[in-house]
């Protein structure tokens, strides 16, 4: 006869964060959190609160205490200009007009989006 196994001393309710993937291939998105005393119940409750409506293809369940948070502005939003790392840092309209003027050419009709994400229907007539 097995002896009654006592739960671990100091068993506490802790928040577990739940991430959901709506359908196959989607990114994981934070859905919310559940309060549970251990991983099994956390998983069980996550399924109920974030998956009972067949709204999730996959769930990640993580102890909040295990999540490392980075929100340091010095690291994530440092003061010097870094626009060369973003699309918005490359505005060429003026230069293109000047180049066309010099070459005596017309703006080509936009047919499809180039790999720099310009020239598609949305920016037809404005190859910025």
């Amino acid at each position: 006869m097995a002896s009654a196994r006592k739960p671990a001393a100091g068993h506490r309710l802790e928040p577990w964060e739940v991430f959901q993937q709506a359908k196959e291939g989607d990114p994981m998105r934070h859905g919310g959190n559940v309060l549970a005393p251990d991983a099994d119940l956390a998983t069980h409750y996550a399924r109920e609160l974030y998956g009972r409506r067949q709204e999730s293809h996959r769930l990640w369940i993580v102890r909040r205490a295990d999540i490392r948070v980075l929100e340091d502005a010095d690291l994530l939003d440092p003061p010097l200009d870094r626009s060369f790392k973003k699309p918005g840092g490359y505005v060429m309209r003026g230069k293109l007009e000047a180049a066309r003027a010099k070459a005596g050419t017309e703006k080509p009709r936009a047919r499809s989006e180039g790999h720099d994400r310009t020239g598609g229907r949305r920016s037809a007539g404005d190859q910025a």
Binding site: H11, G32, L41, E48, D77, D81, F84, G89, V91
Partner: protein, 329 residues
């Protein structure tokens, strides 16, 4: 090698995003910076510093909302047993389940502000905290179930949609999930009502009778017209719309939908004033509202007692889940 200082920044240097009130500054300074941030539409997370007034304001607001979801289960619960078809039983069980789920989500938000769930449940049962008026009334027929699921949930969703932009981000995010789930309830409720209204004379009479009883509480639900300038919840952008704005929105959407079914709204003075672009109506009984939300409604005591007994009877399960450490602490 290119001199980095010679690079021509194309975009102006942005203000660094800072949360200066999280720094160790004098209190008044922190308060002022926080207030500016919130009034400008900024968001607050659970881990940010907050003035006491903001923290207590959000906690009170969220706690009442959580309490309402939990107490809101009781009027409908009895009718789960009596639902007249398999599909209705499934829909009603799922709806009530959602209310419990919403209570869970909202208590979680409140817990992260520092108040333990057990303390909130104790305060609710002891009558120290409140829950919305509509959940203090009896349900007398299947007609009530249709009316409640449709109109009470609709009135709630009007308020909840406005809360999706609350300054307190965890609450705002929860509202988005709740609004999505509530929309199904409204459809279920409307389906019940429409089915009854296309049925027998007895069924139609059942719905009208239910509407006659529920219209008063519905009109009181969003609360009395207040002074916008003195509303602290509006000031801190915990909520974004006034009681009257919510009530007007509710009337605009739902009065036509009720009338199209042939239902008579039991307020002969209810009318849309096109020039003022506002609904006129008989002034709701604010005394009734006050009496009810202070737990003197027809079912207040009974339902709180029911919850108290239920908690006592199930305490042993919670204690065993936690083993050595009980949640009651």
């Amino acid at each position: 090698m290119t001199d980095p200082l010679a690079l021509d920044p194309v975009l102006p240097v942005r203000e660094r995003s800072q949360r200066p009130w999280n720094d160790d500054l004098p209190h008044d300074e922190r308060f002022r910076l926080f207030e500016e941030h919130v009034i400008a539409g900024g968001k607050v997370e659970a881990t940010d510093w907050m003035p006491d007034e903001y923290r207590t304001g959000v906690l009170r607001f969220v706690e009442m909302h959580a309490n309402s979801e939990l107490m809101g289960v009781l009027p409908e619960r009895e009718w789960i047993m009596r639902a007249p078809t398999l599909r209705r039983k499934l829909a009603l069980t799922a709806k009530v389940q959602d209310e419990v789920g919403h209570a869970q989500l909202l208590y979680r938000v409140a817990e992260d502000l520092g108040k333990p769930r057990e303390a909130m449940l104790e305060d609710l049962i002891a009558g120290k905290t409140k829950f919305h008026n509509v959940f203090h009334y009896p349900t007398r027929s299947w007609g009530d179930i249709g009316i409640i699921a449709w109109l009470v949930d609709a009135a709630a969703i009007v308020a909840q949609q406005a809360l999706r932009d609350s300054s307190y981000a965890p609450y705002a995010r929860t509202m988005q999930k709740i609004c999505w789930e509530e929309s199904v309830h409204i459809m279920h409720g409307r389906d019940v009502v429409v089915t009854l209204m296309t049925g027998t004379d007895a069924q139609r009479a059942m719905v009208q009778e239910a509407l006659d009883r529920w219209w008063g509480p519905l009109m009181q639900m969003h609360g009395p017209r207040g002074d916008r300038a003195r509303d602290r919840d509006l000031h801190w952008r915990i909520k974004a719309k006034t009681s009257e704005e919510l009530r007007q929105e509710f009337l605009t959407i739902y009065v036509p939908r009720l009338r199209e079914l042939g239902l008579v709204i039991p307020d002969p003075d209810l009318d849309y004033d096109a020039s003022a672009k506002t609904w006129r109506y008989t002034e709701p009984d604010w005394n009734e509202l006050r009496t009810v939300v202070t737990n003197h409604g027809p079912k207040s005591e009974e339902r709180l007692e029911f919850r108290r007994i239920n908690r006592e009877e199930t305490r042993w399960v919670r204690d065993s889940i936690l083993g050595a450490a009980s949640v009651a602490a």
